[in-house]
Symmetry: C2
Subunit: 102 residues, 2 copies
C-alpha cells in the first residue's frame, strides 16, 4: 500500500482510495468482526480459519493507519491489546450495509 502516485489517483477517483482500505484478503471479515466488539489478535486469528499471523497483523496495521481501527493496551487482569472500530470505522458501516443490500 501507498505507492508513489497515490494522491493523483485519489483526486481523480476518491472512491479508489477508500476501496483500497477495505480490500485485501482479510479486511472485510475483520471489519465485520470488529462490528461485534473489540478484537484481540490471537482470538481473531482463530475466528478466521485459513488466515495467517502475518496477513492479519498487516491488515490490522493498515486498517489502523487508515483510521478505521484503534489499538488500545488494556492494563488489566490479563494485560492485552484491543483493536476496535474508530468513529471513522463506525461511519463506514453504511457502505457495508449498502453493499450487502444487493
Amino acid at each position: 500500500m501507498t505507492t508513489e502516485s497515490e494522491k493523483l489517483i485519489a483526486e481523480q477517483c476518491p472512491a479508489e482510495g477508500l476501496l483500497r482500505q477495505l480490500s485485501g484478503k482479510w479486511k472485510p471479515q475483520i471489519f465485520r468482526l470488529a462490528l461485534e466488539g473489540p478484537l484481540r489478535f490471537n482470538a481473531l486469528l482463530r475466528q478466521l480459519p485459513g488466515a495467517n499471523k502475518q496477513s492479519v497483523a498487516v491488515a490490522l496495521k493498515e486498517m489502523e493507519e487508515a483510521g478505521l481501527l484503534t489499538k488500545t493496551v488494556v492494563r488489566e487482569k490479563p494485560l492485552h491489546i484491543e483493536h476496535s472500530l474508530s468513529e471513522r470505522g463506525q461511519a463506514m458501516t453504511g457502505v457495508f450495509r449498502t453493499l450487502e443490500g444487493l
Copy 2:
C-alpha cells in the same frame, strides 16, 4: 479472480465479493467513466493513461461477469462494441457516493 472457496466467503461476508468486483487497479475508474456513458475499448484505453490492453480487457470481462456492465455489438457505421452500466451497475452508484462522502 474466482478462486475455489468463493461461495463460502460470499456466504460468510457478502460485502467481500462485492468489494472484489470493484477493486482491482482500473475498475473504479472504469466504473466512473461508465457512469458518463457507454464505453468503447480503445477510447477507454486512451482515457486511462498508463493502462494497458490486457488489464483493461480483463477488468471489463470481470465486470461483465459480475453483472455490472453489459457488452453490446453496435451494428452501425463503424461497427463497434459498447460496454455500458447494467441495472445492477446503476444500483452500485449509491455505494460510490457513500464512499465519496467521507
